[in-house]
Every structure is written in C-alpha cells, then in structure tokens.
C-alpha cells in the first residue's frame, strides 16, 4: 500500500515544470498550464494537509495528527529515500502555497511576455519542486539534492534581467551557494562515516541510543554545526546574510517574494528539523568545556542561535532604516525579521517543556507571518515599479492620495510586520515576547536580554516601516507619481493578497492550532522515528 498523496505536491510541480517547458512555443497555453499547475499544486498540498492534520484538530473539535511516510522507489527505510509528511512539513507546505500562488499569478501580469516565454514558468515550478522536496524528505543527502533543485532555478531567476547589476548579484549568490553545497556535502560525508546512516529518523534513533549503537556523538555535534551553518546561509541569518540584499534587489519582484517568503523558510525548516527532531534526544558523553554548559545538543546550539538572532535583528533593522529604495528596505527587513524567528528558536533550544513548545510555535507563526507579509510587500513594490517606474524614495511620495489601494496594501503588509492586532504579525510578536517571558520565569540564562532585544527589534521595525511609509506614500505626489498609471489587475491581486493577511489574523485560532501541532511534531522525535520505521541494522 502506498500513500501517493505524500508525493503528490512534488510530482505535480515536476510535471508542470516539464509541461511548461514542452509548450514554450505557445505562450498562451504555457501560461494556462502554469496557472492550472499551481492550482493543482495547491489542491495537492491541501489534500495532504487535511490527511495529516484533520480539520478537527484545527477547529479544536478533536482528532489526532498523523505522520504519513512514503518510500520512494519501494526501497525500505533506511536504505531507500523516505518522504515524511508530518504536521511540521505540512505547515511549511501550506505556507509555501500561500506565497507561491499569488506570486505566480502576479508574475503572469508582471514579467514581460518574452521573458515568460524563455523559461520563467518552468524555472518557477522547478524551484517549487525543490522547495516541496526539501520540506518532505526524510533523508539528509536527499535534502541536499532538493536544495540544489531549488537553488539552480533560483540562480537563473536572480540573473533573469541579465544586466550588469543582476549578473554581479547572481555571481555572488551562485558562488556562495556552491561553496555552501560543498560544505554541506562534507558534513554529510562525515555524518555517514560516524553514524552509518543518513536517514533522519535512523539518525535520531541512533543519537538517542548512542551507547547501544557504539557511536561517539561528539563528532556529530561538530558536523551538525557545519550543516547548521549551511542552513543558516540559506536562511540568510547573520553572519551569512551578505548575499541577501543584492540577490533580492536583482530578482524580479515575484521571485524576490518567493525567495524571501519561501526559500528562506526552507533554511528555517531545515534548522528546526535538524536541531529539534534529529538532535532532539542527542547528548554528549561529557561536557564540552569552553564555558558551554550542559551536554544536550540543543542546549549547546542555543547560545549560538541566540547570538545570530541578536546580530540579525540589529543588522537587519539598522540596515533597513538607512536604505533609500523599497526593495533594499524590504531585503534588510527580512534579515531582521528572520532574526526574530531565530530568537524564538534560541529560546526554544535552551528551554525545556512548555518553553520549548511555545518557542517553536512562536517561530512557526512568525515564519508564516513574515512569509505572507514580506511577499505581499515585495509584490507591492513590483506594482509600484510598474505604476511609477521607480522604487527609489526620492522619486516617490504621495502615493497614498494617487494610488490608495497600492498604498493600503503596503500599509497592511507593513503593520503586519510591525505587529498591530488583529493581524498575524501581532500574534507572532506576542508569542515571541511570551516565550521570552516564560523563559524568564523558568530562570533561563539570557532570557531578559532576549526580551530586550525583541523590544529593540520591534522599535526598529516601526522605525523603518514608518520611514518608508513617510517617504514613499505620504506627502505631496511627486512628478513621477502624478504621471503614474493604474495597473488594475495587479492592484486587485495585491489588494486581495492584503486581505488574506487580515483574514489570517482574524481567524487566528486554526493557525495557532496548526502551529501547535507542527511544534509537537518537531519535538516528538519518537513519533517521527516510529512512523518512518527504519529497519534496525547491525
């Protein structure tokens, strides 16, 4: 018996990519197939999600979450490649759907016809296949493969416009990620040599019973740190953030939306999966020294996450305050916002019990909020560019009187990031503060600092958002703004997407329950191991 529903999102994305490549000489058919494909992808993801997290769980009416597994090509785990759909994977997949559907529809309107014909749609769907594969796979080497499937189209999409600044950004982005891939391969090789397996469930089990398997977990900590660094590079966390602004500025607006909204979250997802599921029960045999307390892997990663979070929040926030065009502000802002996610993760890693669960829920909700709000803002920036012809602050001004819908969408996205109730951003921020509060009560080290940093970060968010608002949308309309035209369909699309932000905030209970299920799926590694059921060898 096989659960084809698990592999469905992957297959749909792959088939759509190939079909769009096949019909590229018929632009209209190509666009239709691409849009139908994204619809089918959404249906596939929602079907999978409803199997894993039944509706009853979301409405609080009872029911249990499931973990579905799928053995590609019928090899049993841990020999073959397992695909695992648990509440965490499904949460991330739904997040991806919420971003890619508007982004693709926007692309059809935004990207010039010739550009769409070359390969845009195929690349978009290949990237989506890579994203889905990364969320679903239960094997570390396979994760590497899906990362590459996701990155290769993104290299091409960053250099899509092919002018001087785009080639420069793409070169930087490509070289960095190639180095990241090589380093990831090294870590994978090392883990295989020490652990004798690459299946995540098998790894988790062996690490939990290291003594019985005759494994020394100490090298795995170091190798895990290398993997972690690669994931942090994908997520653009300080000190691996430097590729972010150039790449986001170079990419077309809908691609920047997908990169900030989804591919960044792939890095976050990989960090959560690695630290909380695979390393969930891993402990060292003796303390490390160097002033690192405790022997649990998670506890050792906590302070590192914490420092990276502080760096990201301040660098992103201060960077965003001083930039002079929309895309730049948004790019730096996304570094800062990822900092908030990592801050919640840091608290979850050092904490125990409730603090860990609440920290993970906070991180997941913040991810969802950032994904939607940031991609909305990138799409707004694309619309502004289409309407006005520039996104530089000195050319903008007074958009709110001339183009109220665009301005309103930007405002909604912005206050979702700032965290004004009743939008999701409010709950995201609230949960981060709540985690910090609970951690202080639990007597965790650095918890007060975390609270202070979160506050400072929130103030910086307000600062750069209100500055962007003042410069671009308020005041008297500038010369280019007066000459601007209204790209109606785009504006309608962006407006509808903005409403989604509001709807998710008002109907927040199901979102919270989904995140709660996902957080439990991430930490309960025994369930994960049991579902995959890798055969015991040796």
């Amino acid at each position: 018996m096989s659960e084809h529903v698990v592999v469905a999102p992957l297959v749909v994305a792959l088939v759509t990519a190939i079909l769009t490549l096949g019909v590229r000489r018929y632009p209209r058919t190509q666009r239709t197939i691409s849009l139908l494909g994204i619809g089918a992808y959404a249906v596939a993801v929602i079907t999978l999600a409803s199997r894993v997290v039944p509706l009853g769980v979301l409405t609080g009416g009872g029911g249990t979450t499931e973990t579905l597994t799928y053995q590609l090509s019928n090899w049993p785990a841990p020999f073959g490649i397992s695909l695992v759909a648990d509440a965490l994977s499904v949460f991330m997949l739904v997040l991806a759907v919420l971003v890619v559907v508007p982004a693709l529809v926007f692309s059809v309107l935004y990207i010039e016809e010739f550009g769409q014909r070359i390969s845009y749609h195929a690349l978009f769907h290949f990237m989506l296949a890579g994203v889905s594969g990364s969320f679903l796979t239960g094997d570390i080497f396979n994760l590497f493969v899906w990362f590459e499937v996701m990155l290769m189209p993104s290299y091409v999409l960053v250099v899509f416009y092919g002018r001087a600044k785009h080639t420069r950004a793409a070169l930087q982005y490509t070289v960095l990620n190639l180095l990241g891939s090589a380093v990831m391969l090294v870590a994978i090789g090392g883990i295989y040599a020490t652990m004798g397996t690459l299946n995540m469930a098998d790894l988790a089990r062996r690490l939990a019973h290291a003594g019985e398997y005759g494994i020394n977990p100490a090298p795995v900590l170091g190798l895990g740190a290398i993997l972690f660094a690669v994931f942090a590079l994908k997520a653009g966390i300080v000190p691996f953030q430097f590729w972010v602004p150039a790449a986001y500025r170079a990419a077309p607006a809908p691609i920047a939306a997908v990169m900030a909204g989804v591919t960044k979250k792939v890095g976050i997802y990989a960090i959560i999966r690695l630290l909380f599921t695979v390393f969930g029960a891993a402990t060292l045999e003796s303390e490390l020294g160097f002033g690192m307390a405790g022997t649990s892997f998670l506890g050792l990663f906590g302070p590192v996450l914490f420092l990276m979070a502080i760096g990201s929040i301040f660098l992103g926030g201060l960077g965003a305050v001083s930039r002079n065009d929309l895309d730049n502000v948004l790019a730096y802002s996304s570094i800062g916002q990822v900092g908030f996610i990592v801050l919640a993760l840091a608290l979850a890693a050092t904490g125990e019990g409730t603090v860990r669960t609440v920290g993970l829920i906070a991180a997941l909700i913040y991810s969802l909020n950032h994904a939607i709000a940031k991609s909305l803002l990138f799409l707004v920036s694309g619309t502004v560019y289409e309407a006005v012809g520039s996104i530089r602050f000195d050319a903008l001004g007074g958009l709110s009187t001339k183009r109220p819908v665009i301005a309103g969408s930007f405002f909604l996205g912005g206050i979702a990031l700032v965290g004004i109730p009743p939008l999701t951003g409010f709950f995201g921020k609230l949960l981060v503060f709540d985690t910090a509060g609970k951690a202080i009560v639990a007597g965790e080290p650095f918890a007060e600092v975390a609270l202070a940093v979160a506050l400072a970060g929130a103030i910086l968010t307000i600062a750069y958002f209100s500055r962007a608002w003042n410069r671009a949308f308020w005041g008297t309309p500038s010369e280019p703004v007066t000459r601007s035209y209204q790209p109606t369909t785009m504006v309608v699309l962006v407006g509808a997407f903005a409403l989604l932000v509001v709807v998710l905030g008002i109907g927040f209970d199901p979102v919270y329950r989904a995140a709660d299920a996902a957080a439990h799926a991430a930490t309960e590694w025994e369930t994960y191991v049991e579902a995959v059921g890798p055969e015991v060898i040796e």
Partner: protein, 135 residues
C-alpha cells in the same frame, strides 16, 4: 535528478558501514590529497579573477566528492554485482552512489557558473572582481 541514488544496491551496507574505523594506507594518501585540494580551492576562490573563483569553487566541490568517497571506507573490491559471480567484501556502494549524484549536480552548477562568468564579462567588460564591484 536523484535517480542515481535510487538504484543503489543496499545489501552490503550493514557489513561495511562505519568506514572510519579501519584507516589504511589509501585513506592517509587521500587525506593529504584532500588537504591540498581544499587549500588550492580556497586559494583560487580568494583571487580577483572571476574565472579563477569559479575554478576554485569547482575544485572545492570535487574535493568534497573525494572526501565523501573516502568517508565510505576503502576496503574490499569494486561494489559491482554481476550475474552469478562469487563475492567477498566490497567497498560501501552507498557513498559512491551519493558521489555520482553530487557529481551530476556539480556538473550542472559548474556549467551554469561558467556561462554566468561569460555573461559577467559581457556586461562588465572585465573579469576582475574589484572592477566588477565598482560599477
């Protein structure tokens, strides 16, 4: 894309896993080679010339592949099962399948990186990174 891994024959993993334990002569030589490759790659990545940087990255990815093979342990014969032949211990085939996949991926990205280098040259008229970054 992941097809190469899927066709692995897993029957020998149990007997040959944890290849780190027996480090024979080939491992030592490979360790030295690996060190040299990584050093050369790093040196090239730090040059100003875009082509050299791409070469450096390529060398580093190849070094990672060699590392992966080394990590599987190098004992026993070639892990090829032909019809009806008797077999003793074979080297762990899994790492070799992984490396094949990694080579295919590396091949694609290297091709892209070289095309990109050409585009950079076309757009900027130079392949000197410090000049590329000035404009």
């Amino acid at each position: 894309m992941s097809g190469t891994v899927l066709r692995t024959v897993p029957s020998t993993i149990a007997s040959t896993s944890a290849g780190g334990e027996a480090s024979g002569q080939p491992q030592v030589i490979l360790a030295v080679v690996l060190g040299l490759l990584f050093a050369l790659g790093t040196f090239l990545v730090l040059r100003k010339d875009v082509v050299r940087v791409v070469w450096g990255v390529t060398i580093i990815s190849q070094a990672a592949n060699v590392y992966l093979v080394t990590m599987g342990g190098l004992r026993g014969s070639v892990p090829i099962l032909s019809h009806g032949g008797a077999h003793g211990a074979v080297t762990d085939p899994l790492v070799q399948a992984l490396v094949l996949t990694a080579i295919v991926i590396g091949f694609g990205t290297t091709a892209f990186a070289l095309v990109l280098t050409y585009r950079v040259y076309e757009e900027h008229g130079t392949i000197d990174l410090s000049e590329v970054n000035e404009r």
